[in-house]
Amino acid sequence: MTTTNTLPLIRGVQNSPLEEYYTSGHRTCQGCESALTMKLMVKAAGPRSIVLGSTGCMYVANTTYYSTPWVVPWMHTQLGSSGSAATGTAAGLKALMTKKKIKDEPINVVSFCGDGGGMDMGLSAISASLTHPEYNHLVLCYDNESYANTDIQASGATPWGANTSFTPPGKLHRIMQKRWKKNMAAMMAVGHPGVRYVATGCASYAVDLMNKIRKALTLGGPTFIHTYDPCPKGWDFDPMYSHELGMLGVETGIWVQYEVEDGVISLNGPSRMIARGRRKRKPVYDFLKRQGRFAHFTDEDVDYYQAKIDEMWEKWWLPGIIPINPEEGLQPPPG
């Protein structure tokens, strides 16, 4: 295994690096939280990095010929190829370093995908990439809960009931999106026991997200981070509220902030407080009412949504993370 960069944790926003490696030149929408995720991602990773980007908003809106925002080397990969791009780049570097064809030095390999590319089409390649302990790379799935680049079509990450261009409410069917969001980070952590680091994050909690990126890259081997990115266009809200929507997602318990480091899971920030009973979850209505994609919801729909979130926190084996329960006789995990 090649060596990794040791990236120290950032203690507070005032101590975060000043240098930017994702700068002007992109043309993402106003209030795009995924663009902020990109910026924090490379700010945390630093200049000795290679970034691979699969097709999606963060390809098409970011990277127009002659106006790239990337200061670090960047390469496009196909919609379902974020995992393969990470493996191929890391393997190529390792081979060349092992054979002394290039200088042996730590290089961060970061490959990103959207929720469509990562949680739908690219799932098998990401899964495979997480089975190669000898390659150091991070796959980051920025989740804005739809195929937002192609006109807001429902993906495997779109929440129940949301109005998308493939699931519009109509006269006969008010709810066209009948599926619940995939439980991606937990699936990656539980399904790939050799992986040293899996986390969820949200750019509303910027320092936390940067530190998660740094932990992933420092620990090495294949790692995975899933971020929650409010999308003004897809979720239909005023761009000035992106940050607030991200926080509301966490505070209502819809999105859970956690990390799994060497097989030990810990919840972070408000999610940790909620799990320990020190903070009450806000009603999901506070989150839903702020977005046009749920404007067609009836009171019953809101109640149903709330009941599903309550179930996550009250009935799941690990609140908000593991949606299965042991049969009698099997020991549940300690506190």
């Binding site: 200049p47 000795r48 990095s49 290679i50 691979l52 390809y59 098409v60 990277t63 127009t64 010929y65 002659y66 790239t68 990337w70 200061v71 670090v72 080397p73 960047w74 390469m75 496009h76 990969t77 196909q78 379902g80 190829s81 995992g83 393969s84 791009a85 493996t87 191929g88 780049t89 393997a91 190529g92 570097l93 390792k94 081979a95 060349l96 092992t98 054979k99 064809k101 290039i102 290089i107 098998s124 390649a125 899964s127 495979a128 190669h132």
Partner: protein
């Protein structure tokens, strides 16, 4: 199949086409190889894995979870400057199709072995050329080989041409399933020194993806630039002809080979009245048939097309215009094509349009799904081509040969 430990320093080896290419991987010091099982190409990866296990080959060897990932992984390894090898067959090659397409646009050298196989459904393991031919419009260089020795030489040639900075395009070596992938032949091996002299290291130059060279690769270009970029890829493919000629000259000199023409092989064509034209291992029954018919006083010959992309139009124009009639054998199909002809037939018909005199032409589709092309069926094709020579045109331009009624 038993995978033996081959000592690649032996000067003469009895090996299959797959094993020949696996040994070429070791001698070319390939950096990254990706495998995924599908018959019949996967035998090359069985040999590759054994060579790695025995310490003969040193590389990153990744068993991918699909053909799409197989080709995407080596694509990205090539972008950081690693020499790569992969391969597939039949529908597996099609599963990777997206990756096959973008590799050309990215101008990334990649060498792949295609163990030619029929496309399912219905299921069939045998040879058919439609798998590799499907990429013929995209910028892949395509080579068809006949013997294990040619497979090995073609592999060295493929890295050399694909990685040439004037080219930077992927190259596929097509080997007929079973007939070549699984059949052993005597190969005269080049030495490591000869391979090193022939094959320089892969240098990605200013296009390498590395923190010391912070470039952005493949941004969105749309109508602003795409046609210019396609035109550049076209220019690279056009340059490939000269680079292949140059490489073949070097190979003949360094490996002591006697391949006069890198693009086509002519067999007993000098005084021939009619010839058949085909690709791959069907040359064996065809050459036997040529010899037998010549014993009966019939002036026949055989032309084998070795490179399909770049297509050897200039060579075929010179070689084929002198015959009274030509018959084109396709181990493929192109349903609904002009004259209902196969792919090779259609391409050669197009290549000869401006030639004077233009020989009358007939097309044959045979050997699909790996059905054996026999001396009898070859004789039948020669007979039909003689009829065309006599009348000056083909009553039926395209015939399916050896098909049960």
């Amino acid at each position: 199949m038993t995978i033996s430990t081959t000592d690649i320093r032996e000067k003469e080896q009895l090996i299959s086409g797959s094993e020949a290419i696996a040994i070429a991987c070791a001698m070319a010091d390939v950096d990254v190889i990706t495998a995924y099982p599908i018959r019949p190409y996967d035998t090359v990866m069985q040999f590759v894995s054994k060579l790695i296990a025995d310490g003969t080959l040193s590389c990153e060897y990744i068993i991918a979870e699909s053909e799409h990932s197989q080709f995407e992984i080596v694509k990205h390894a090539s972008a950081v400057g690693a020499r790569v090898f992969t391969g597939s067959s039949g529908v597996g090659w099609f599963y990777a199709f997206e990756a096959l397409a973008v590799t050309c646009g990215l101008r990334l050298p990649m060498v792949a072995m295609v163990g030619n196989r029929a496309l399912d459904d219905p299921g069939a393991f045998g040879t058919e050329h439609n798998d590799a031919l499907a990429v013929r419009d995209l910028g892949w260089m395509l080579r068809w080989v006949d013997t294990a020795e040619e497979a090995m030489d073609a592999a060295f040639m493929a890295w050399r041409v694909a990685e040439d900075p004037r080219i930077y395009l992927p190259c596929a070596i097509s080997t007929d399933g079973a007939f070549l992938t699984h059949s052993q032949q005597i190969v005269q091996m080049p030495s490591q020194e000869q391979v090193d002299e022939f094959l320089p290291p892969y240098d990605r130059g200013d296009f390498v993806l590395h923190p010391d060279n912070p470039i952005t690769i493949a941004p969105q270009v749309n109508e602003d630039w795409l046609i210019e970029i396609r035109r550049q890829t076209d220019a690279a493919m056009r340059r490939a002809r000269d680079v292949i000629i140059e490489a073949q000259d070097d190979m003949n000199r360094i490996f002591n080979r006697e391949e006069e023409d890198p693009f086509i092989e002519e067999y007993m064509t000098e005084d021939a009245d009619v010839v058949l034209v085909g690709m791959g291992t069907l040359s064996l029954p065809l050459k036997v048939t040529v010899r037998r018919l010549r014993e009966q006083g019939k002036k026949v010959g055989f032309v084998r097309v070795k490179w399909f992309r770049p297509f050897p139009a200039p060579e075929l124009q010179v070689a084929l215009s002198k015959f009274k009639a030509i018959g084109i054998i396709d181990r493929d199909y192109s349903l609904g094509a002009p004259q209902n002809g196969g792919v090779l037939y259609t391409e050669i018909r197009s290549a000869l349009y401006d030639v004077t005199p233009r020989p009358p032409m007939i097309g044959f589709i045979c050997g699909l799904g790996g059905r054996e092309v026999t001396v009898d069926s070859s004789t039948e094709m020669f007979d039909k081509t003689f009829e065309v020579a006599e009348t000056g045109h083909a009553e039926e331009p395209l015939l399916w040969i050896g098909v049960r009624s």
